[in-house]
């Protein structure tokens, strides 16, 4: 009836390792111990109980603990401890029936719906949703009315109502596994559906089902007690819910009678809940933002002296400065960026220095993982959670901002610095119209009136080459194309007339035909507004198209800096030469590249090598 908060995808976990890792969690071990005690009490009830649970001794009515009855007697003169022990039997027996019923219904349906999809999925999901929309308690009371209060039947009915919990988690998991390539491979290899389901699916859904069972058992025990509290179930079978009802009637005069079964019920349910949550923790990958202490540790590791002589070169800044600090639109001095990982601090940028003057276009080139995007995020002061940056200096508009508090750094954004992201679609808020997303910063950051902000937004859209601005303004992000979305993002970046525009791979996610147009647009805007443009790319074609100077990065360090012409003609570092030749198969900037090679026979060897390398793609074209 209630949904367990579960991630749809869970890392597959081996049985033995899960069990071993579980035993390392103190809370989980305690909870498991408590459950073991309850199970032992239920199994051993006939031997542990000092009296027959239904034996009535009038002297014992409302008796206080003591005198051979450690927990006293109830309102009918029966020994409470004995009834509690036998009640554990009823409770666990009911929980097992409920869980088995829910499991047998929910798991096969979930696997089938997730694996076969289509009609099977729609029908099963509708039934599951319907079951969750039915107030189960009332229907259970209807069942109880008819079945002569047969406990086992009632528990099966309860299991039916809890089956959607199993169904949902199994279906989500089966759906995720179904999309894995190895299932396709198995089908192509001629493995039959039943066999795939048995071998792959059941292994994949095993761990979440264990978690779900712990949670379902807890809920089942609670609902079972609720039903017994309402008077459902045979009077001759002792149960905790019934005992709570008895205690409730005498609550004001003999509160102890209510206390014992309440404790038993609460502790058992809590134990199951903690077992479930510990298991869920173990099989789902949770990434928590590190605390302030962890950030401090990263900061110290980045700023501290080199631990060993071998690390010394890393502690020296890489890259050069072309301009005076006060003349720069952007200047970075010896930047380091690190992330806290379980094994220590991982440095992704290791001493980077660069600068860009107003009106200059600086390219930062490198492979993925070279630290170029992290450098850009540091300029914005928007590193992903867990990242920490340390620098000797960060200058924007000729002003040192690296040591400003983050609130003051944030005031640069949108005003002095504009940002063009890589993926156009994921960088627009899907819930708001384009108009809202362009107008909001103009009004609340730049202080324009509503009409002025709208007029400005429309004007910028026209400027970035959108021919029907009114339609685009009224659209939601999913209603416009990727190229259009990137133009909207560029419009948003330049709407506040920043002096520095940073663009993170602005053309990578676009169609080839749109790429050239967007680059051309960035170049035009940069010249029109006199901005410095820092453009991150892995593509030397882009560099050749619009950059004045280029910084080549590798493994978090700068290997080479220089004017584009010079870098193409005489790359000093072999890595640069390699990157240039690897960009050969890209269309844009081909002309400039060809010129560069024509002028530089030294690259002919590289040309041959990479031509052989990309030959397959060339043939395809």
């Amino acid at each position: 009836m209630t949904a367990a908060p579960f991630p749809a995808t869970l890392a597959p976990v081996k049985r033995i390792s899960l069990w071993r890792r579980y035993l390392r969690r103190p809370l989980g071990v305690v909870a498991l111990g408590v459950l073991m005690v309850v199970v032992a009490a239920a199994v051993l009830a006939p031997w542990l109980s000092p009296f027959d649970p239904n034996l009535v001794d009038f002297k014992l009515t409302h008796a206080t603990p003591g005198d051979g009855h450690p927990l006293g007697g109830d309102s009918a003169g029966r020994d409470i401890l004995s009834r509690l022990l036998y009640g554990a039997r009823t409770t666990l027996f009911g929980a097992v029936i409920t869980c088995v019923a829910g499991l047998l219904l929910g798991v096969p349906a979930g696997v089938a719906a997730g694996y076969f999809g289509g009609v099977t999925d729609r029908v099963c999901s509708w039934i599951s949703d319907a079951l969750q929309s039915v107030p189960g308690m009332i229907v259970l009371l209807v069942v109880a009315a008819g079945t002569g209060q047969d406990f086992a039947v009632l528990m099966v009915a309860l299991g039916i109502f809890l089956a959607p919990g199993y169904y949902r988690i199994t279906r989500a998991r089966a759906l995720a596994v179904r999309r894995e390539p190895y299932i396709d491979a198995a089908r192509v290899a001629g493995v039959t559906n039943p066999r795939i389901l048995r071998t792959h699916m059941l292994r994949a859904v095993y761990a979440p089902i264990v978690v779900q069972t712990a949670l379902t058992a807890g809920i089942a025990i609670g609902m079972q007690a609720g039903l017994q509290f309402l008077g459902i179930g045979s009077a001759s079978t002792p149960s905790w819910g019934q005992m709570m009802n008895d205690g409730f009637k005498n609550m004001l005069t003999y509160p102890l009678i209510l206390l014992w079964p309440s404790i038993a019920l609460g502790v058992t349910i809590a134990a199951l809940a903690f077992i479930g949550s510990t298991l869920a923790d173990l099989i789902s990958v949770r990434t928590e933002q590190p605390a302030r202490r962890a950030r401090l540790r990263v900061r110290q590791a980045l700023a501290g002296p080199a631990p060993a002589p071998g690390d010394l070169p890393d502690r020296v800044s890489s890259g050069t400065h072309e301009h005076q600090a006060a003349d720069c639109a952007l200047r970075i001095e010896n930047l380091r960026v690190g992330y806290a990982t379980p094994t220590g601090v991982k440095e992704v940028v290791r001493g980077v220095s660069l600068d860009a003057a107003p009106g200059e276009v600086l390219g930062i080139v490198g492979e993925s993982g070279s630290g170029k995007t992290q450098t850009i995020f540091t300029v914005l002061d928007l590193l992903p959670s867990g990242g920490t940056a340390v620098a000797d200096g960060i200058w924007v508009d000729g002003r040192e901002v690296g040591r400003l508090p983050s609130a003051e750094r944030a005031t640069l954004l949108g005003r002095s610095i504009g940002y063009v992201p890589q993926e156009p679609m994921s960088n627009l808020d899907p819930c708001y119209t384009v108009e809202r997303q362009l107008v909001e910063p103009l009004r609340h950051v730049h202080g324009l009136s509503k009409t002025a902000a709208r007029a400005r937004a429309r004007e910028v859209l026209v400027r970035v080459g959108i021919t029907d601005p009114d339609r685009v303004l009224a659209s939601y992000p999913h209603q416009i194309s990727g190229g259009m979305a990137q133009r909207v993002l560029i419009a948003g970046a330049v709407a506040g007339r920043p002096s520095l525009l940073v663009a993170d791979e602005p053309t990578t996610a676009l169609d080839v035909t749109v790429q050239a147009e967007v680059l051309e647009l960035l170049r035009e805007l940069q010249q029109e507004y006199g901005m410095a443009l820092v453009i991150v790319t892995h593509n030397f074609g882009v560099v050749a198209d619009i950059c004045d100077r280029v910084v080549v990065m590798k493994d978090g360090r700068i290997v080479e800096t220089g004017p584009v012409e010079r870098i193409f003609r005489h790359p000093e570092d072999p890595y640069t030469a390699e990157l240039i030749s690897a960009s050969l198969d890209d269309t844009e900037g081909r002309h400039e590249l060809d010129e560069a090679w024509d002028r530089d026979p030294r690259l002919d060897a590289d040309l041959d090598r990479s031509a052989a390398h990309v030959g397959g793609e060339d043939d395809a074209r």
């Binding site: 209807v142 004001l252 809940a273 933002q289």
Partner: protein, 313 residues
């Protein structure tokens, strides 16, 4: 948008028809001959036969179903088999009581759950976040009536802040009404609050890591404005849980009402179930499902408003 509303409405009506018909046949098959239960074991076969004729139980099952269904479709749920009072009259007295408890509990869980969820989402791993994690583990499974017994023992008997039992109609005294439904609502809401909070917190963190949040910040928007964007994107999961909880709370209210001796549908359902008074049980089922359908419909409208993509489905 109109076809979206029509589709949701149709789906709700279909659910209502399927569930009430299903409950009808389930009840008839499960109960069998209701007259021994209604009259007690001392009744003669002649008395039982007379009652069977009076309540129409001697007619074929499908005829009985059609009679019940065609009347129910016009909003008439027949008369009780025990005291021959119209089911509608009995429900009109009791449904508002249950509904007020459940609605207050739902509002409490929405308001406090959202506040807690945002606070934890803004500072994951902080004190409040760890507290929520612990509370959600325990309160997720503990039944509402268990919590209500604890609350009664503590707040009503020990501290005497609230009445332990009884119900004051808002016609008599609004303050007394509020005091009488505070403890029942809170005991129902506690588990729901942490569920909503946990769901929103997880959604919040998931959305906060998405690219567009960085882009919004890069435009210079304040933290408060960015939080509103994140919240809107994170809300669908929490809203869905809230709607599911409403169903759970309706069921939970039945037991909690017994604890607080509230004159809601709880005691009516309990007694009808014990003697096999099928028309009352069917009426109660239909009415609760109607409320569930209404809540689900409202949820769909809100989800459509929050997320423009849903509208086009």
């Amino acid at each position: 948008m109109l076809s979206f509303i029509a589709k949701r409405l149709l789906s709700g009506i279909l659910l209502l028809v399927v569930v009430t018909s299903g409950t009808f046949f389930l009840a008839y098959l499960a109960v069998g001959d209701p007259t021994p239960g209604l009259l007690g074991n001392s009744a003669t076969p002649a008395q039982q036969a007379a009652l069977r004729t009076k309540i129409g139980y001697d007619q074929p099952l499908l005829v009985q179903f059609w009679n019940w269904f065609s009347n129910a479709a016009t909003g008439d749920f027949g008369t009780s088999w025990r005291n021959f009072q119209p089911v509608n009259d009995q429900m009109a007295l009791r449904v508002p009581v249950t509904l007020s408890v459940v609605v207050v509990a739902t509002v409490l869980s929405a308001v406090i759950g959202v506040a807690v969820g945002i606070a934890c989402g803004l500072r994951p791993g902080g004190m409040l976040d760890r507290g929520l994690k612990l509370a959600s583990v325990v309160l997720f499974a503990l039944p509402g009536f268990w919590v209500s017994l604890v609350l009664v023992m503590w707040f009503a008997i020990e501290l005497r802040w609230f009445p332990a039992i009884g119900y004051v109609s808002p016609d008599q005294s609004v303050g007394g009404w509020l005091r009488s439904i505070t403890l029942p609502s809170v005991s129902l809401a506690l588990g729901a609050i942490v569920m909503v909070g946990e769901q929103l917190r997880n959604g919040f963190l998931q959305v906060a890591n998405q690219d567009f949040v960085r882009t919004l910040r890069a435009r210079g928007l304040s933290g408060r404005r960015v939080t509103m964007h994140v919240l809107r994107n994170a809300s669908p999961a929490a809203l869905t849980v809230l709607a599911l909880l409403f169903v759970g709370l309706l069921g939970g209210a039945i037991v909690v009402e017994i604890v607080f001796n509230l004159p809601g549908i709880g005691s009516l359902t309990q007694s009808a179930s014990q003697i096999g008074d099928i028309p009352v049980l069917l009426g109660l089922t239909a009415v609760t499902v109607v409320f569930v359908v209404i809540v689900n419909f409202l949820l769909d409208l809100v989800l459509g408003w929050v997320n423009p993509k849903v509208r086009e489905r």
